[in-house]
Protein backbone atom coordinates (compact mmCIF):
# COMPACT_ATOMS: atom_id res chain seq x y z
CA UNK A 1 0.00 0.00 0.00
CA UNK A 2 2.84 2.25 0.77
CA UNK A 3 4.23 1.39 -2.60
CA UNK A 4 1.00 2.31 -4.24
CA UNK A 5 1.05 5.56 -2.38
CA UNK A 6 4.61 6.30 -3.31
CA UNK A 7 3.86 5.53 -6.93
CA UNK A 8 1.30 8.25 -7.09
CA UNK A 9 2.26 11.65 -8.47
CA UNK A 10 3.59 13.97 -5.89
CA UNK A 11 0.68 16.37 -5.99
CA UNK A 12 -1.75 13.55 -5.38
CA UNK A 13 0.31 12.48 -2.45
CA UNK A 14 0.21 15.99 -1.17
CA UNK A 15 -3.55 16.13 -1.64
CA UNK A 16 -3.99 12.89 0.24
CA UNK A 17 -1.80 14.16 3.01
CA UNK A 18 -3.77 17.39 3.14
CA UNK A 19 -7.03 15.52 3.29
CA UNK A 20 -5.67 13.34 6.05
CA UNK A 21 -4.67 16.46 7.93
CA UNK A 22 -8.11 17.96 7.47
CA UNK A 23 -9.79 14.67 8.23
CA UNK A 24 -7.81 14.49 11.40
CA UNK A 25 -7.95 18.05 12.61
CA UNK A 26 -11.58 18.76 12.08
CA UNK A 27 -12.85 15.77 14.08
CA UNK A 28 -10.29 16.54 16.73
CA UNK A 29 -11.60 20.08 16.88
CA UNK A 30 -15.11 18.73 17.19
CA UNK A 31 -14.05 16.32 19.86
CA UNK A 32 -12.41 19.22 21.63
CA UNK A 33 -15.66 21.09 21.70
CA UNK A 34 -17.30 18.10 23.31
CA UNK A 35 -14.35 17.65 25.62
CA UNK A 36 -14.60 21.25 26.62
CA UNK A 37 -18.24 20.84 27.56
CA UNK A 38 -17.54 17.68 29.46
CA UNK A 39 -14.50 19.06 31.26
CA UNK A 40 -16.33 22.19 32.26
CA UNK A 41 -19.22 20.07 33.48
CA UNK A 42 -17.02 17.81 35.54
CA UNK A 43 -15.17 20.72 37.07
CA UNK A 44 -18.49 22.28 37.94
CA UNK A 45 -19.89 19.09 39.35
CA UNK A 46 -22.29 18.42 36.51
CA UNK A 47 -22.66 15.39 34.30
CA UNK A 48 -22.43 17.46 31.14
CA UNK A 49 -24.17 16.71 27.87
CA UNK A 50 -25.69 13.24 28.05
CA UNK A 51 -29.27 13.55 26.79
CA UNK A 52 -29.10 13.01 23.05
CA UNK A 53 -29.35 9.51 21.74
CA UNK A 54 -28.94 8.65 18.12
CA UNK A 55 -31.63 6.57 16.60
CA UNK A 56 -29.51 3.56 15.67
CA UNK A 57 -26.35 3.84 17.64
CA UNK A 58 -27.89 4.88 20.88
CA UNK A 59 -29.83 1.67 21.29
CA UNK A 60 -26.88 -0.69 21.12
CA UNK A 61 -26.71 -2.35 24.50
CA UNK A 62 -23.94 -1.14 26.84
CA UNK A 63 -22.18 0.90 24.18
CA UNK A 64 -25.19 3.02 23.41
CA UNK A 65 -25.72 4.27 26.93
CA UNK A 66 -21.99 4.85 27.38
CA UNK A 67 -21.86 6.95 24.26
CA UNK A 68 -24.94 8.77 25.41
CA UNK A 69 -23.42 9.53 28.77
CA UNK A 70 -20.30 10.77 27.07
CA UNK A 71 -22.39 13.10 24.96
CA UNK A 72 -21.08 11.75 21.69
CA UNK A 73 -24.46 12.14 20.08
CA UNK A 74 -24.55 15.75 21.05
CA UNK A 75 -21.38 16.21 19.07
CA UNK A 76 -22.95 14.52 16.09
CA UNK A 77 -26.12 16.49 16.45
CA UNK A 78 -24.24 19.76 16.76
CA UNK A 79 -22.16 19.01 13.71
CA UNK A 80 -25.20 18.13 11.68
CA UNK A 81 -26.95 21.16 12.96
CA UNK A 82 -24.20 23.49 11.85
CA UNK A 83 -24.22 22.04 8.42
CA UNK A 84 -27.94 22.17 7.96
CA UNK A 85 -28.67 25.49 9.56
CA UNK A 86 -29.93 28.24 7.35
CA UNK A 87 -27.14 30.50 6.24
CA UNK A 88 -28.03 33.91 7.53
CA UNK A 89 -26.10 36.94 6.43
CA UNK A 90 -26.74 40.21 8.21
CA UNK A 91 -27.68 42.98 5.82
CA UNK A 92 -25.09 45.47 6.86
CA UNK A 93 -21.92 43.44 6.46
CA UNK A 94 -19.24 43.55 3.87
CA UNK A 95 -20.08 40.27 2.31
CA UNK A 96 -16.77 39.49 0.73
CA UNK A 97 -14.69 39.89 3.85
CA UNK A 98 -17.48 38.52 5.95
CA UNK A 99 -17.30 35.25 4.09
CA UNK A 100 -13.54 35.43 3.79
CA UNK A 101 -12.89 35.69 7.51
CA UNK A 102 -13.78 32.12 8.50
CA UNK A 103 -11.72 30.79 5.66
CA UNK A 104 -8.78 32.89 6.71
CA UNK A 105 -9.21 31.52 10.17
CA UNK A 106 -9.33 27.91 9.14
CA UNK A 107 -6.73 27.75 6.40
CA UNK A 108 -3.66 28.80 8.46
CA UNK A 109 -4.51 26.37 11.20
CA UNK A 110 -4.84 23.60 8.69
CA UNK A 111 -1.69 24.67 6.94
CA UNK A 112 0.52 24.71 9.98
CA UNK A 113 -0.21 21.08 10.57
CA UNK A 114 1.78 20.35 7.48
CA UNK A 115 5.07 21.22 9.09
CA UNK A 116 4.38 19.73 12.45
CA UNK A 117 5.65 16.20 12.95
CA UNK A 118 3.21 14.13 14.88
CA UNK A 119 5.23 11.04 15.42
CA UNK A 120 8.23 9.11 14.22
CA UNK A 121 8.83 5.70 12.74
CA UNK A 122 11.93 3.59 12.57
CA UNK A 123 13.13 3.59 9.06
CA UNK A 124 14.82 0.24 8.68
CA UNK A 125 16.64 1.34 5.54
CA UNK A 126 18.51 4.17 7.15
CA UNK A 127 18.33 2.68 10.63
CA UNK A 128 17.23 6.04 11.89
CA UNK A 129 14.02 7.59 13.07
CA UNK A 130 12.09 9.42 10.48
CA UNK A 131 9.42 11.92 11.39
CA UNK A 132 5.80 11.33 10.65
CA UNK A 133 5.19 14.60 8.96
CA UNK A 134 3.40 15.85 5.92
CA UNK A 135 6.19 18.12 4.80
CA UNK A 136 9.50 17.86 6.56
CA UNK A 137 10.70 21.31 5.70
CA UNK A 138 13.73 22.80 7.24
CA UNK A 139 12.13 26.06 8.29
CA UNK A 140 9.94 24.17 10.77
CA UNK A 141 9.10 26.47 13.55
CA UNK A 142 9.31 29.51 11.38
CA UNK A 143 6.69 28.09 9.08
CA UNK A 144 4.49 27.49 12.05
CA UNK A 145 4.88 31.01 13.29
CA UNK A 146 4.61 32.52 9.88
CA UNK A 147 1.44 30.78 8.89
CA UNK A 148 -0.08 30.69 12.33
CA UNK A 149 0.19 34.43 12.70
CA UNK A 150 -2.04 34.85 9.70
CA UNK A 151 -5.01 33.78 11.75
CA UNK A 152 -5.10 37.23 13.28
CA UNK A 153 -6.32 38.48 9.95
CA UNK A 154 -9.33 36.28 10.30
CA UNK A 155 -10.27 38.01 13.47
CA UNK A 156 -9.61 41.44 12.12
CA UNK A 157 -11.53 40.70 8.98
CA UNK A 158 -14.44 39.23 10.85
CA UNK A 159 -14.52 42.15 13.21
CA UNK A 160 -14.35 44.71 10.51
CA UNK A 161 -16.58 43.02 7.97
CA UNK A 162 -19.36 42.56 10.47
CA UNK A 163 -19.84 46.32 10.53
CA UNK A 164 -20.95 46.20 14.12
CA UNK A 165 -19.54 47.58 17.35
CA UNK A 166 -18.72 44.50 19.28
CA UNK A 167 -17.14 42.54 16.51
CA UNK A 168 -15.13 45.58 15.61
CA UNK A 169 -13.82 45.96 19.13
CA UNK A 170 -13.12 42.26 19.19
CA UNK A 171 -11.16 42.50 15.99
CA UNK A 172 -9.09 45.43 17.25
CA UNK A 173 -8.40 43.67 20.49
CA UNK A 174 -7.36 40.56 18.62
CA UNK A 175 -4.89 42.37 16.45
CA UNK A 176 -3.31 44.16 19.37
CA UNK A 177 -3.19 41.12 21.54
CA UNK A 178 -1.82 38.71 18.99
CA UNK A 179 0.91 41.09 17.95
CA UNK A 180 1.83 41.72 21.57
CA UNK A 181 2.32 38.15 22.46
CA UNK A 182 3.81 37.01 19.23
CA UNK A 183 7.00 38.77 20.14
CA UNK A 184 7.37 37.03 23.44
CA UNK A 185 6.47 33.74 21.90
CA UNK A 186 9.05 33.98 19.20
CA UNK A 187 11.67 35.14 21.63
CA UNK A 188 10.90 32.30 23.94
CA UNK A 189 11.83 29.62 21.42
CA UNK A 190 15.18 31.18 20.43
CA UNK A 191 17.08 29.54 23.30
CA UNK A 192 15.73 26.17 22.26
CA UNK A 193 17.10 26.50 18.78
CA UNK A 194 20.30 28.02 20.06
CA UNK A 195 20.75 24.93 22.12
CA UNK A 196 19.73 22.52 19.39
CA UNK A 197 21.94 24.10 16.82
CA UNK A 198 24.86 25.07 18.95
CA UNK A 199 27.23 22.24 18.37
CA UNK A 200 25.85 21.04 15.06
CA UNK A 201 27.57 21.71 11.79
CA UNK A 202 24.33 22.27 9.99
CA UNK A 203 21.81 24.63 11.51
CA UNK A 204 18.17 23.75 11.32
CA UNK A 205 14.83 25.05 12.47
CA UNK A 206 13.17 21.68 12.00
CA UNK A 207 10.95 20.62 14.84
CA UNK A 208 12.05 17.05 14.25
CA UNK A 209 15.54 18.13 15.09
CA UNK A 210 14.31 19.67 18.31
CA UNK A 211 12.81 16.38 19.33
CA UNK A 212 15.88 14.53 18.23
CA UNK A 213 18.02 16.67 20.43
CA UNK A 214 15.82 15.74 23.35
CA UNK A 215 16.26 12.05 22.62
CA UNK A 216 20.00 11.84 22.97
CA UNK A 217 21.85 9.95 25.60
CA UNK A 218 23.33 11.59 28.60
CA UNK A 219 22.01 13.83 31.29
CA UNK A 220 21.51 16.87 29.11
CA UNK A 221 20.79 14.88 26.03
CA UNK A 222 17.64 13.18 27.31
CA UNK A 223 16.51 16.10 29.31
CA UNK A 224 13.43 17.70 27.95
CA UNK A 225 13.73 21.37 27.38
CA UNK A 226 11.03 22.08 29.84
CA UNK A 227 13.51 21.15 32.53
CA UNK A 228 16.42 22.75 30.82
CA UNK A 229 14.65 25.98 30.00
CA UNK A 230 11.62 26.28 32.23
CA UNK A 231 11.37 29.98 31.74
CA UNK A 232 11.21 29.54 27.99
CA UNK A 233 8.50 26.98 28.39
CA UNK A 234 6.59 29.26 30.69
CA UNK A 235 6.76 32.24 28.39
CA UNK A 236 5.87 30.11 25.43
CA UNK A 237 2.93 28.63 27.25
CA UNK A 238 1.57 31.96 28.37
CA UNK A 239 1.99 33.36 24.90
CA UNK A 240 0.33 30.30 23.47
CA UNK A 241 -2.73 30.94 25.58
CA UNK A 242 -2.83 34.48 24.36
CA UNK A 243 -2.22 33.51 20.76
CA UNK A 244 -5.02 30.96 20.71
CA UNK A 245 -7.42 33.37 22.36
CA UNK A 246 -7.99 31.00 25.17
CA UNK A 247 -9.02 32.06 28.60
CA UNK A 248 -7.77 33.94 30.47
CA UNK A 249 -6.80 35.77 27.28
CA UNK A 250 -9.94 35.43 25.17
CA UNK A 251 -10.28 39.16 24.75
CA UNK A 252 -11.47 39.15 21.16
CA UNK A 253 -14.68 37.31 22.01
CA UNK A 254 -15.04 37.94 25.74
CA UNK A 255 -18.77 37.43 25.95
CA UNK A 256 -19.15 39.38 29.14
CA UNK A 257 -18.25 42.69 27.58
CA UNK A 258 -18.38 42.08 23.84
CA UNK A 259 -21.27 39.63 23.49
CA UNK A 260 -19.42 37.37 21.11
CA UNK A 261 -16.59 39.60 20.10
CA UNK A 262 -15.46 39.19 16.53
CA UNK A 263 -17.98 36.45 15.78
CA UNK A 264 -21.02 38.20 17.19
CA UNK A 265 -22.54 38.50 13.75
CA UNK A 266 -21.65 34.98 12.72
CA UNK A 267 -23.80 31.94 12.93
CA UNK A 268 -24.33 28.49 11.54
CA UNK A 269 -21.58 26.91 9.49
CA UNK A 270 -19.46 30.07 9.28
CA UNK A 271 -19.35 30.30 12.99
CA UNK A 272 -18.51 26.65 13.31
CA UNK A 273 -15.52 27.22 11.07
CA UNK A 274 -14.23 29.81 13.54
CA UNK A 275 -14.85 27.29 16.18
CA UNK A 276 -12.96 24.54 14.42
CA UNK A 277 -10.17 26.96 13.65
CA UNK A 278 -9.77 27.85 17.26
CA UNK A 279 -9.53 24.26 18.33
CA UNK A 280 -7.24 23.43 15.45
CA UNK A 281 -5.07 26.29 16.48
CA UNK A 282 -5.07 25.01 19.99
CA UNK A 283 -4.16 21.54 18.86
CA UNK A 284 -1.29 22.77 16.77
CA UNK A 285 -0.10 25.01 19.58
CA UNK A 286 -0.17 22.13 21.99
CA UNK A 287 1.66 19.95 19.52
CA UNK A 288 4.38 22.53 19.05
CA UNK A 289 4.75 22.93 22.78
CA UNK A 290 5.10 19.19 23.16
CA UNK A 291 7.68 19.08 20.40
CA UNK A 292 9.66 21.96 21.75
CA UNK A 293 9.61 21.31 25.42
CA UNK A 294 8.17 17.92 26.21
CA UNK A 295 10.24 15.65 24.11
CA UNK A 296 7.76 15.09 21.35
CA UNK A 297 7.05 11.41 20.96
CA UNK A 298 9.53 10.30 23.55
CA UNK A 299 7.63 8.52 26.22
CA UNK A 300 9.60 9.86 29.20
CA UNK A 301 12.59 12.08 29.83
CA UNK A 302 15.77 10.12 29.25
CA UNK A 303 13.69 7.39 27.71
CA UNK A 304 13.85 7.91 23.96
CA UNK A 305 11.44 6.29 21.61
CA UNK A 306 13.93 4.80 19.22
CA UNK A 307 15.12 1.77 21.15
CA UNK A 308 11.56 0.99 22.10
CA UNK A 309 10.26 0.66 18.59
CA UNK A 310 13.43 -0.57 16.90
CA UNK A 311 12.30 -4.18 16.83
CA UNK A 312 8.68 -3.54 16.10
CA UNK A 313 6.97 -3.47 12.73
CA UNK A 314 7.14 -0.08 11.13
CA UNK A 315 3.46 0.66 11.38
CA UNK A 316 3.27 -0.34 14.99
CA UNK A 317 6.29 1.70 15.93
CA UNK A 318 4.89 4.71 14.08
CA UNK A 319 1.61 4.29 15.78
CA UNK A 320 3.25 4.04 19.17
CA UNK A 321 5.23 7.19 18.54
CA UNK A 322 2.17 9.03 17.38
CA UNK A 323 0.29 7.78 20.40
CA UNK A 324 2.87 9.15 22.83
CA UNK A 325 2.90 12.42 21.00
CA UNK A 326 -0.85 12.72 20.76
CA UNK A 327 -1.24 11.73 24.38
CA UNK A 328 0.91 14.64 25.44
CA UNK A 329 -0.85 16.94 23.01
CA UNK A 330 -4.22 15.95 24.31
CA UNK A 331 -3.04 16.53 27.82
CA UNK A 332 -2.19 20.04 26.76
CA UNK A 333 -5.54 20.50 25.17
CA UNK A 334 -6.97 19.39 28.44
CA UNK A 335 -4.73 21.88 30.18
CA UNK A 336 -6.18 24.63 28.05
CA UNK A 337 -9.64 23.66 29.17
CA UNK A 338 -8.60 23.13 32.73
CA UNK A 339 -7.16 26.61 32.88
CA UNK A 340 -10.21 28.04 31.20
CA UNK A 341 -12.50 26.76 33.93
CA UNK A 342 -10.10 27.75 36.68
CA UNK A 343 -8.95 31.26 35.97
CA UNK A 344 -11.02 34.35 35.42
CA UNK A 345 -10.55 36.44 32.34
CA UNK A 346 -8.08 39.35 32.45
CA UNK A 347 -9.11 42.86 31.95
CA UNK A 348 -7.88 44.08 28.59
CA UNK A 349 -5.40 46.56 30.02
CA UNK A 350 -3.99 43.79 32.15
CA UNK A 351 -3.48 41.71 29.06
CA UNK A 352 -1.59 44.53 27.43
CA UNK A 353 0.43 45.31 30.51
CA UNK A 354 1.31 41.68 30.99
CA UNK A 355 2.26 41.29 27.37
CA UNK A 356 4.42 44.37 27.00
CA UNK A 357 5.66 45.20 30.43
CA UNK A 358 6.15 41.80 31.95
CA UNK A 359 6.38 39.08 29.41
CA UNK A 360 8.39 40.86 26.71
CA UNK A 361 11.17 42.06 29.02
CA UNK A 362 11.23 38.65 30.58
CA UNK A 363 11.52 37.00 27.17
CA UNK A 364 14.34 39.34 26.13
CA UNK A 365 16.14 38.76 29.39
CA UNK A 366 15.60 35.08 28.91
CA UNK A 367 17.11 35.10 25.43
CA UNK A 368 20.11 37.05 26.63
CA UNK A 369 20.55 34.77 29.58
CA UNK A 370 20.43 31.59 27.52
CA UNK A 371 22.51 33.06 24.76
CA UNK A 372 25.20 33.88 27.29
CA UNK A 373 24.76 30.60 29.05
CA UNK A 374 25.02 28.60 25.85
CA UNK A 375 28.00 30.60 24.75
CA UNK A 376 29.68 29.87 28.05
CA UNK A 377 28.89 26.18 27.77
CA UNK A 378 30.13 26.12 24.17
CA UNK A 379 33.41 27.72 25.11
CA UNK A 380 34.08 25.34 27.85
Amino acid sequence: MIDLYLSLPIWVQAAIKGLIAIGFLIPVAGACSLAERKVSAWIQGRPGPNRARAWGLGYIPILGPILQRLGVFHLMADGAKFVFKEDVVPGHVNKFYYYLAPLVALVPSLCTVVVVPFGAYFDAASETLKPLILADVDVGILAVFAIGSLSVYALILAGWASNSKYPFLGGVRASAQLISYELSMTLSVIPVFLWVNAPGPEATLSLFAVVESQSQAGLFGGMWFVFLMPMCAFIFLVSLFAETNRQPFDMPESEADLVGGFHTEYGEFKWSIFFVAEYAHMTIGSAVFVLLFLGGWNPLPWVPLEPLIAGLPVWLGGLLGAAFFLGKTFFFIFLFMWVRWTLPRFRYDQVMRLGWQKLLPLAIANVIFYALAIAVIERS
Partner: protein
Protein backbone atom coordinates in the same frame (compact mmCIF):
# COMPACT_ATOMS: atom_id res chain seq x y z
CA UNK B 1 -19.27 54.74 62.46
CA UNK B 2 -15.72 54.12 63.22
CA UNK B 3 -13.33 52.88 60.69
CA UNK B 4 -10.56 50.51 61.12
CA UNK B 5 -7.93 50.47 58.49
CA UNK B 6 -6.68 47.01 57.86
CA UNK B 7 -3.06 46.87 57.08
CA UNK B 8 -2.54 44.53 54.22
CA UNK B 9 0.65 42.61 54.01
CA UNK B 10 2.57 43.42 50.85
CA UNK B 11 2.59 40.60 48.37
CA UNK B 12 5.63 38.43 48.18
CA UNK B 13 7.36 37.98 44.89
CA UNK B 14 5.79 34.58 44.40
CA UNK B 15 2.43 35.97 45.09
CA UNK B 16 2.99 38.79 42.67
CA UNK B 17 3.61 36.37 39.86
CA UNK B 18 0.32 34.74 40.74
CA UNK B 19 1.77 31.45 39.71
CA UNK B 20 1.26 29.72 43.07
CA UNK B 21 -2.29 30.95 43.15
CA UNK B 22 -2.93 29.73 39.68
CA UNK B 23 -1.50 26.35 40.53
CA UNK B 24 -3.58 26.29 43.65
CA UNK B 25 -6.64 27.09 41.61
CA UNK B 26 -5.82 24.41 39.11
CA UNK B 27 -5.40 21.83 41.80
CA UNK B 28 -8.69 22.87 43.25
CA UNK B 29 -10.58 22.50 40.03
CA UNK B 30 -8.85 19.24 39.29
CA UNK B 31 -9.92 17.85 42.62
CA UNK B 32 -13.42 18.94 41.89
CA UNK B 33 -13.32 17.22 38.58
CA UNK B 34 -12.31 13.84 39.86
CA UNK B 35 -14.55 13.91 42.89
CA UNK B 36 -17.92 12.19 42.47
CA UNK B 37 -20.75 14.62 41.91
CA UNK B 38 -22.90 15.58 44.82
CA UNK B 39 -25.82 16.54 42.64
CA UNK B 40 -28.61 14.26 41.58
CA UNK B 41 -28.89 13.26 37.96
CA UNK B 42 -32.50 14.25 37.92
CA UNK B 43 -34.61 12.44 35.42
CA UNK B 44 -32.92 9.11 36.03
CA UNK B 45 -32.40 9.55 39.74
CA UNK B 46 -35.30 11.03 41.67
CA UNK B 47 -35.02 12.85 44.94
CA UNK B 48 -36.81 11.37 47.94
CA UNK B 49 -40.16 13.18 48.26
CA UNK B 50 -40.82 14.31 51.80
CA UNK B 51 -44.11 13.82 53.57
CA UNK B 52 -46.64 16.52 52.80
CA UNK B 53 -45.01 17.46 49.54
CA UNK B 54 -47.25 19.46 47.27
CA UNK B 55 -47.02 17.80 43.90
CA UNK B 56 -49.72 17.31 41.34
CA UNK B 57 -53.24 17.43 42.79
CA UNK B 58 -55.00 14.11 42.48
CA UNK B 59 -58.26 12.52 43.46
CA UNK B 60 -58.14 9.53 45.74
CA UNK B 61 -60.43 6.66 46.57
CA UNK B 62 -60.92 5.22 50.00
CA UNK B 63 -59.65 1.74 50.83
CA UNK B 64 -62.98 0.30 49.76
CA UNK B 65 -62.59 1.76 46.31
CA UNK B 66 -65.26 4.37 46.80
CA UNK B 67 -64.59 7.68 45.19
CA UNK B 68 -64.30 10.11 48.02
CA UNK B 69 -65.09 13.31 46.16
CA UNK B 70 -68.69 14.39 46.59
CA UNK B 71 -68.33 17.37 44.26
CA UNK B 72 -68.89 20.02 46.90
CA UNK B 73 -66.92 22.36 44.67
CA UNK B 74 -65.12 24.00 47.54
CA UNK B 75 -61.81 23.36 45.81
CA UNK B 76 -63.17 24.94 42.67
CA UNK B 77 -64.15 27.92 44.76
CA UNK B 78 -60.92 28.26 46.66
CA UNK B 79 -58.58 27.58 43.76
CA UNK B 80 -56.67 30.85 43.24
CA UNK B 81 -55.90 30.36 39.54
CA UNK B 82 -59.28 28.74 38.84
CA UNK B 83 -57.68 25.58 37.60
CA UNK B 84 -60.43 23.29 38.84
CA UNK B 85 -63.69 22.64 37.06
CA UNK B 86 -66.35 20.37 38.45
CA UNK B 87 -69.68 19.29 37.12
CA UNK B 88 -71.59 17.82 40.02
CA UNK B 89 -73.90 14.90 39.60
CA UNK B 90 -76.11 12.52 41.50
CA UNK B 91 -75.16 8.97 42.32
CA UNK B 92 -77.77 6.64 40.91
CA UNK B 93 -80.08 5.12 43.47
CA UNK B 94 -79.07 1.54 42.72
CA UNK B 95 -75.38 2.18 43.23
CA UNK B 96 -73.52 0.82 46.22
CA UNK B 97 -72.76 4.29 47.39
CA UNK B 98 -76.24 5.67 46.83
CA UNK B 99 -76.22 6.93 50.42
CA UNK B 100 -73.50 9.40 49.49
CA UNK B 101 -75.90 10.88 46.95
CA UNK B 102 -73.46 13.13 45.18
CA UNK B 103 -70.33 12.60 43.13
CA UNK B 104 -68.61 14.54 40.39
CA UNK B 105 -69.76 13.89 36.88
CA UNK B 106 -66.75 15.67 35.53
CA UNK B 107 -63.68 16.83 37.38
CA UNK B 108 -60.95 18.65 35.52
CA UNK B 109 -57.77 20.18 36.85
CA UNK B 110 -55.92 22.32 34.38
CA UNK B 111 -52.25 21.74 35.13
CA UNK B 112 -51.34 24.73 33.00
CA UNK B 113 -53.10 26.87 35.57
CA UNK B 114 -52.41 24.94 38.77
CA UNK B 115 -49.96 26.68 41.06
CA UNK B 116 -49.56 23.75 43.46
CA UNK B 117 -50.68 25.87 46.40
CA UNK B 118 -52.50 22.99 48.03
CA UNK B 119 -55.53 25.04 49.03
CA UNK B 120 -57.77 22.47 47.38
CA UNK B 121 -56.38 19.77 49.61
CA UNK B 122 -56.65 22.04 52.60
CA UNK B 123 -60.26 22.90 51.93
CA UNK B 124 -61.51 19.46 50.95
CA UNK B 125 -63.98 18.32 53.58
CA UNK B 126 -63.87 14.75 52.36
CA UNK B 127 -60.09 14.44 52.11
CA UNK B 128 -60.61 13.46 48.52
CA UNK B 129 -58.08 15.70 46.85
CA UNK B 130 -54.42 15.27 47.66
CA UNK B 131 -51.32 16.85 46.30
CA UNK B 132 -49.06 13.86 45.90
CA UNK B 133 -45.46 13.35 44.92
CA UNK B 134 -45.67 13.72 41.17
CA UNK B 135 -43.97 17.01 40.48
CA UNK B 136 -43.05 17.13 36.83
CA UNK B 137 -45.81 17.30 34.30
CA UNK B 138 -45.36 17.64 30.59
CA UNK B 139 -47.36 17.25 27.48
CA UNK B 140 -47.49 18.25 23.88
CA UNK B 141 -50.91 19.90 23.79
CA UNK B 142 -52.93 22.04 26.13
CA UNK B 143 -55.63 19.41 26.24
CA UNK B 144 -53.18 16.81 27.44
CA UNK B 145 -52.38 18.94 30.45
CA UNK B 146 -55.96 19.09 31.66
CA UNK B 147 -56.32 16.13 33.98
CA UNK B 148 -59.80 14.71 33.78
CA UNK B 149 -61.51 12.65 36.45
CA UNK B 150 -60.21 9.35 35.19
CA UNK B 151 -56.66 10.58 35.06
CA UNK B 152 -56.93 12.19 38.47
CA UNK B 153 -58.03 8.92 40.02
CA UNK B 154 -55.28 7.12 38.17
CA UNK B 155 -52.74 9.53 39.62
CA UNK B 156 -54.26 9.53 43.04
CA UNK B 157 -54.89 5.89 43.69
CA UNK B 158 -56.06 4.88 47.11
CA UNK B 159 -55.07 6.46 50.38
CA UNK B 160 -55.78 5.17 53.86
CA UNK B 161 -58.84 6.64 55.50
CA UNK B 162 -59.19 7.51 59.14
CA UNK B 163 -62.85 8.32 59.18
CA UNK B 164 -64.99 6.15 56.94
CA UNK B 165 -67.62 8.75 57.53
CA UNK B 166 -69.98 7.53 54.86
CA UNK B 167 -69.55 3.87 55.77
CA UNK B 168 -70.44 4.71 59.33
CA UNK B 169 -73.39 6.66 58.07
CA UNK B 170 -74.58 3.69 56.08
CA UNK B 171 -74.10 1.40 59.06
CA UNK B 172 -76.11 3.77 61.22
CA UNK B 173 -78.80 3.88 58.58
CA UNK B 174 -78.99 0.12 58.63
CA UNK B 175 -78.93 -0.06 62.41
CA UNK B 176 -81.70 2.50 62.71
CA UNK B 177 -82.66 4.51 65.75
CA UNK B 178 -83.00 1.45 67.94
CA UNK B 179 -79.25 1.33 68.28
CA UNK B 180 -79.18 3.83 71.11
Amino acid sequence: MSFKTVERKPLTLAERTYVPQILNGLSHTFKKMVKPNETLEYPEARPPIPEGYRGVPTLVKDPNGREKCVSCQLCEFVCPPKAIRIKPGEISADADTAHVEKAPQEFDIDMLRCIYCGLCQEVCPEEAIWLQNVFSVSGYTREELVNDKERLYELGGTLPDEHFKWDKKKAAEEAGNGAH
